[in-house]
Symmetry: C2
Subunit: 401 residues, 2 copies
């Protein structure tokens, strides 16, 4: 007998039939002898509907009132799911975020969990009830409702699993697990049985949007074993944990991220403080810089190239142009026709030849590499956007199939 936290997203509870589907998954877990705590998001389009209602009232509603408004969405889904469980004969009780003990900071719409107070959840478990908890929401020190922002329900589930010392936290989704590449693009992509937290973090940040990064970080911090699993097809999913069985796999996945622009600043004076001056301009606008490459240019000058999210490219160029005097001019250019293709695998750090295998695969397709970035468990290249799918297929072939 184990304690399992199960998280279901908004699509999984969008209507009567999906709610009963979820209730049966929970019932089966219960019948297998486990204690179950469930974390649920708002139903299907509820959050969008509520946002639309607010937009009718104000173009910039207060964040506190938005959180008050949006938190009603999960309150509806937890009540309906508890009813469905009871209808199946499973003893169940619903709890809002504040009832379940989610204490957060004051940052409305993007609050962070400060402390879990699990007394109520534990007392309901002791009464042999399935506890259905509203994800995405908490309470701040002023007793006001907060929400956790994007992917908040995943974070709720992991935080609850950590606080309850649950044996596993299952994240139910529309996919069957984590794949070696996007299965819609690469038919040969295979589902991973296991993956480490670090590999998952690299894959998530590279555009394999299965799990929210914040929840993986939290799971890693508190060593909560995650499972990404399908709510439609009842087969084992992918387990995310500290040490994964690599089974001879050097790399765990090939990911493509097209949300990338490369910005170049040429002929920056080669004196101390120039990089700081360039990147502080971007930090002021909250623009995240990913890969950075510095090369020597003309005499006494250097060139800087870096990637930013595509949507931030114009803003980044404007910031650089406005502040150009700070770093002594320089020719600023932007290339929006880029993609980042990466391989991730904890195994690669102890194996030589991984990079060269990747570059060989790209060369075999005559694909030009614009930038390269490496970490202990990841190699990323920036290439032309139109080559990206071909690149992923070739790299996947070289390493996995």
């Amino acid at each position: 007998m184990a304690l399992i936290v199960q998280k279901f997203g908004g699509t999984s509870v969008k209507d009567r039939s999906r709610i009963f589907n979820v209730a049966r998954i929970i019932m089966n877990t219960r019948n297998a002898g486990h204690d179950v705590v469930v974390v649920v998001s708002a139903q299907g389009d509820t959050t969008d509907d509520l946002i639309a209602k607010a937009a009718e009232i104000s173009s910039s509603p207060s964040r506190r009132e938005m959180d008050m408004l949006l938190a009603s969405g999960e309150q509806i889904s937890i009540a309906l799911l508890a009813m469905a469980l009871q209808e199946l004969g499973v003893s169940a009780v619903s709890l809002t975020g504040w009832q379940a003990g989610f204490n957060t900071d004051r940052a409305y719409s993007r609050a962070r969990i400060k402390r879990m107070d699990t007394e109520r959840v534990e007392s309901e478990l002791a009464r042999n009830r399935v506890v259905v908890v509203a994800g995405f929401q908490g309470l701040n020190r002023s007793d006001d409702i907060t929400t956790l922002g994007r992917g908040g329900s995943d974070t709720s589930a992991v935080a609850l699993a950590a606080a309850l010392h649950a044996d596993r936290c299952q994240i139910y989704t529309d996919v069957e697990g984590v794949y070696t590449a996007d299965p819609r693009k690469i038919p040969k992509a295979t589902k991973l049985k296991e993956i480490t937290f670090d590999e998952m973090l690299e894959l998530a940040s590279l555009g394999a949007q299965v799990l929210n990064n914040r929840s993986v970080e939290l799971a890693k911090k508190y060593n909560v074993e995650l499972e990404v699993i399908s709510s439609i097809n009842p087969v084992p999913g992918t387990v995310v944990k500290e040490e994964a069985n690599v089974e001879g796999m050097l790399i765990k996945g090939v990911a493509k991220d097209s949300d990338v622009a490369v910005i170049s600043v040429k002929n920056v004076p080669d004196v101390p403080g120039m990089s700081f001056k360039v990147f502080s301009l971007l930090a002021q606008r909250n623009i995240n810089v990913d890969i950075i490459l510095q090369s020597s240019g003309a005499e006494g000058k250097k060139d800087l190239s870096f990637t930013v999210p595509l949507g931030d490219a114009e803003s980044a160029v404007a910031a650089l142009q406005n502040g150009a005097s700070r770093f002594g001019g320089g020719e600023i250019s932007v290339d929006k026709n880029c993609a980042k293709v990466s391989i991730v695998g904890a195994g690669m750090q102890s194996h030589s030849g991984v990079a060269s295998t990747m570059f060989e695969a790209l060369f075999s397709q005559n694909i030009n590499i614009k930038m390269i970035s490496t970490s202990e468990i990841k190699i990323s290249v920036i290439i032309d956007e139109q080559d990206a799918d071909k690149a992923v297929a070739a790299i996947h072939d070289a390493f996995i199939n």
Copy 2:
């Protein structure tokens, strides 16, 4: 400068334009120098939509989960109204029932308020904010959400006004106040400036469905001055208070109630305990009996006649037939073609001739009286349903116009 509690029903906040209409009423009250606490119901059809969602899941959902579900409705409307106030430049904050300190008993779906904890509301008022409170809901001692049942938001408003020692509690509705008769039927009906709690209670129970009886009882108990007022037409409404200025008006209203059936039990043995035996059969089925009339029948026998709500008539007759042996047989008949017409007025108790004026008005229309019932501030007659409107008009003419 006064403290005013304003209550708005679901129709008043059903869409964007109605929400802003309400926000402007509040803003005007605020601009007149008053502190304002607002109590709001769920938007228009929200509660019905939520009930329909629950009905899809279960034919008999748990009351606890229903309350969890339904309470989300007011949470939406308070957030939207607070946003609208802020959009108009009025400082405002929304509070759920539990945040506003409504402590109730455990009776889900029909909870009663046990204690008000006004600390939060008072601290928000001290910050010069309009406080927008969710009506209809509270929290029980287990920290679970409860709802107050039908007319609950009126009750919330009065309870809050009592606890805050508010100067007035305004109940905004679709009508302009309390009338001497139903203005859709009696064009000459006039709006009352003032009415006593007792008169309002008699009128409410007689079918003039302006205010929920429970809220009037609560207002009377804590001496909270109520005002029934239109949210559409900004004119003074009707004030309900302990002592009303009668202005020479003997009666305050003429009311018709067609939801009445007369049941007669003839030839019951005239020995002690027979009335108890008859009426305990009805109490077992939770059937409320209103007017009771007892007359002597054949030798050693008596006849009992009484009124019940029309929808309970069949059930009452069945109960009496099943238990007929307990009161020695008796001939049971039912008359569903009845109406109760009543006059209400605190002034009548000190004036003779009120009853005779009423009966004269009925006689002038050749209307036969089947039963008569009187209290200190009310006279009711049971007549044929088809005579009811004519009776109301004649009585209204005799007393008011």
